[in-house]
Symmetry: C2
Subunit: 477 residues, 2 copies
């Protein structure tokens, strides 16, 4: 059954419009195989993949497949039985983290990890309230929609126990690159929020943030921000949760974890991991301190996760760590990421529409603006660039940020210097064409100063991604 | 690293006491490989596995490993790209279900499935309140602890929007086997509860129940119960959610889903699936109607699950369905389950301590009681039987139920007639010994009529499982 190739039209009609959207819905891509940073469609056409951060060490890496198959053939019990893999894996992860993060809970998805992190924080602190960053997304579970402004603004709304701090975006936030100390200034906004919460007689359990806000627009947190926030949050009796679901495992190159970009002096109390951890296999983790884990265990109620930490998941996790080391993928992320940022910065000098280039390692964003002074998001041009990259050059890139005006790169970590050069050349060509195309320029921006215009744009997000369909499937109708 | 065999003592000390408990903590078993219904420890000793319902078609089935490895080598993108596997898999699942359950959401764990089911129910009905069965467990996520009396009684307590209906247990519940129509009588208790909820000005979104309550004690719902409850719940504007995480995929033999034991006339509005679905691979699903899915999609907010429905998970899911058919595992469950129940019923005639034998297919429970009249749970004897089965006969069985007095069988579906005969012989021998052992009989029961004595027993649950340790791991300390 598996290899039988359904005709695309029949297929698409079977995927009736549901909740999850397809990439390139106008002309969806049916990928049949993938290797490294390349995807191959049903006609054998090759696409360069700049977005699959899940496939961290490269699509279908033979070492990962081999490790998975070998362990699947041997044993895949749950963690009520002893097994070496889970201990070896925890040891290896521990060696990448500050010593105090020494307890590991293995789960199946970034969402499960963040839900557990929230439980740990609330149980340890015996407080309830949570501070999150504006535009944040922490997962699809009910508990996480509550702490994700990106979701709750469109759904149930903001809960009383959730408080939103400004996104420390030094390009378009309240404190910008010309501020003498934006890290301190944004952290002080968190302090103000804590005071406000205390004023209401409420108490902070956690500050919850991605180490590099992704849906927020590929944001690099300003220097000193996290350490200062941690200081304020701990003084209020809360803990600092670093969501590394998108950013961990060496993506930033210089460090294994993105929170480490904030300096030696900063260590979160809880770190959550996910997407890249199993190279596509459902594998995630929460790391925390012995003290927090102790408080969680103290009530005598066990936490058991059926699939979490099973020998196959751990064998895959170990193989991913091996490949990162053996192929020096962090070194590659540093070199290729720097080259990519350098080339894009040069491009910025020639294209007015490129307002900002930012990134760390292979986590890079290019923010397009129709007006450099006003920093007006060039949402439609961003969508246009994504579409042309796919149609004319077989390059997969997507957008992010509150206005979907940021082209984002988070490719498999084997992305090469040549790949970086190719994609920058293609963007150069497309942006050059765009300037001469009145069709685009006339519609390429929105005025973010007018609040009313933001609303349709946010809901127009589904257009941008040019997506129709579901991963929910109606097979019979 | 993976194959390196840590010394057991060092290993156990590394697994410091955390949240998840080990089987047989006094003398933990370190299993290195498994095949079919057999586990093999580090010394090559073979154990008969009567409890691994996750490893549904047998441990390490070569067809599953082959399908997984082949697809891992080819492609494992997410569902924003078109792929046949997810459509083929949804088609195959649809063919096992009533026609109205035609929309499928693929996720990574039973907990993710139940969380999504709750969202679907609440969004569709625009009501909030949930009715659950006493002692139920629906998962480890925050939203599910709220609807699991088994958990919330020991943690945060009962939320205002959660209402607990009596467990329709015809052995020790309020209506027993001597009642003319226990199905109707228990359903009427749900009706009373709905009226009570309405009296408070609240509204029911869902009735949430396992099709065969597992943690509740391997309960078989009385005839007519579910259809009647569904009628009451729908009249109140709510939906019926059947949690098939433990019971689906042919375990009951006669039917593919345990809810089908309640007759042709009954169809849930939402069905959640989990444990056996991927034979150990993290794979789960929510099936629902086009109407409920439509209401979920209508608000324009997408549901996206990073790993859910990926080509590898679906290839594994398809392979599991193939093996169930090719090896006639439902037929086997019917034959072996009936023989097991028959043998146990004969045993009951000779051992006063066996109060009840119940089951469907390879979902079987033996309830031990120290007094047949009073139906006093023989908790300690049940723990003793589990221990002796493991130590003297290398047979893995565990207990369930509010007093951990029910020996439960939910073995891999390839469990044979000979396996059933062996385990019954061994139980016979152990129970015969027990009668002559004053050490056991003196402590073998608790008086459930005295409420106070229940409390220590429930918290003594962790003793019963004879478990110490974690799947959370402290590697460095």
């Amino acid at each position: 059954h598996i290899t039988k190739n359904l005709r695309k039209t029949a297929y698409i009609s079977k995927r009736k419009i549901q909740s999850c959207k397809l990439f390139y819905s106008e002309d969806p891509v049916k990928i049949l195989r993938a290797r490294g940073q390349y995807l191959f469609d049903e006609n054998g056409k090759r696409y360069l993949d700049c977005i699959s951060n899940v496939h961290h060490v490269g699509h279908c890496h033979p070492s990962i497949t081999k490790a998975a198959a070998a362990q699947m053939d041997l044993l895949n019990t749950n963690t009520r039985f002893l097994h070496d893999n889970v201990v070896l894996y925890a040891d290896r992860l521990a060696s990448t983290l500050p010593e105090k993060l020494c307890v590991f809970y293995f789960v199946n998805s970034g969402s499960e990890a963040n839900d557990l992190a929230l439980r740990l924080a609330q149980q340890y602190t015996q407080h309830r309230d949570v501070i999150v960053l504006d535009h944040a997304y922490h997962g699809h579970l009910m508990s996480l929609i509550d702490i994700s402004p990106y979701k709750f603004r469109k759904l149930a709304g903001q809960k009383k126990w959730v408080h939103v701090a400004p996104l420390p975006d030094t390009y378009r936030g309240m404190y910008r690159e010309d501020h003498p100390n934006p890290g301190q200034a944004y952290a002080d906004k968190v302090k103000d929020l804590i005071d406000e919460v205390h004023g209401k007689g409420r108490k902070i359990s956690a500050f919850f943030a991605e180490s590099l806000p992704s849906v927020g627009g590929q944001i690099i947190l300003p220097e000193g921000y996290s350490a200062k926030v941690a200081e304020y949050v701990r003084a209020a009796g809360g803990v600092f949760v670093a969501d590394e679901v998108q950013t961990g495992f060496g993506r930033v190159g210089s460090h294994f974890w993105a929170f480490q970009l904030q300096g030696e002096g900063f260590c979160p109390d809880i770190v959550t991991m996910g997407k890249p951890m199993g190279n596509g296999h459902p594998l995630s983790c929460v790391a925390t301190t012995a003290e927090i884990a102790g408080a969680f265990t103290a009530n005598g109620v066990e936490y058991f996760n059926t699939f979490g930490g099973n020998p196959v998941s751990c064998a895959i996790g170990l193989a991913v760590l091996d490949v990162i080391e053996e192929e020096d993928l962090r070194g590659n992320a540093t070199r290729v990421g720097a080259h990519l940022k350098d080339l894009l910065t040069k491009l910025q000098a020639r294209h007015e529409i490129i307002g900002d280039v930012r990134g760390a390692g292979l986590f890079v964003g290019i923010e397009l603006v129709s007006d450099r002074e006003k920093r007006t998001p060039a949402t439609k041009t961003a969508a246009w660039v994504v579409k042309r990259l796919k149609m004319d050059h077989q390059i997969c890139v997507s957008t992010d940020g509150p206005w979907e005006s940021v082209l984002k790169f988070k490719p498999p970590m084997c992305f090469s210097l040549e790949d970086a050069e190719l994609v920058v050349q293609c963007i150069d060509r497309i942006l050059t064409d765009t300037v001469t195309s009145p069709m685009i320029t006339s519609q390429s921006s929105v005025n973010i100063s007018a609040e009313s215009s933001c609303i349709p744009l946010i809901s127009a997000k589904s257009d941008y991604r040019m997506l129709i369909d579901p991963h929910t499937v109606i097979p019979k109708i």
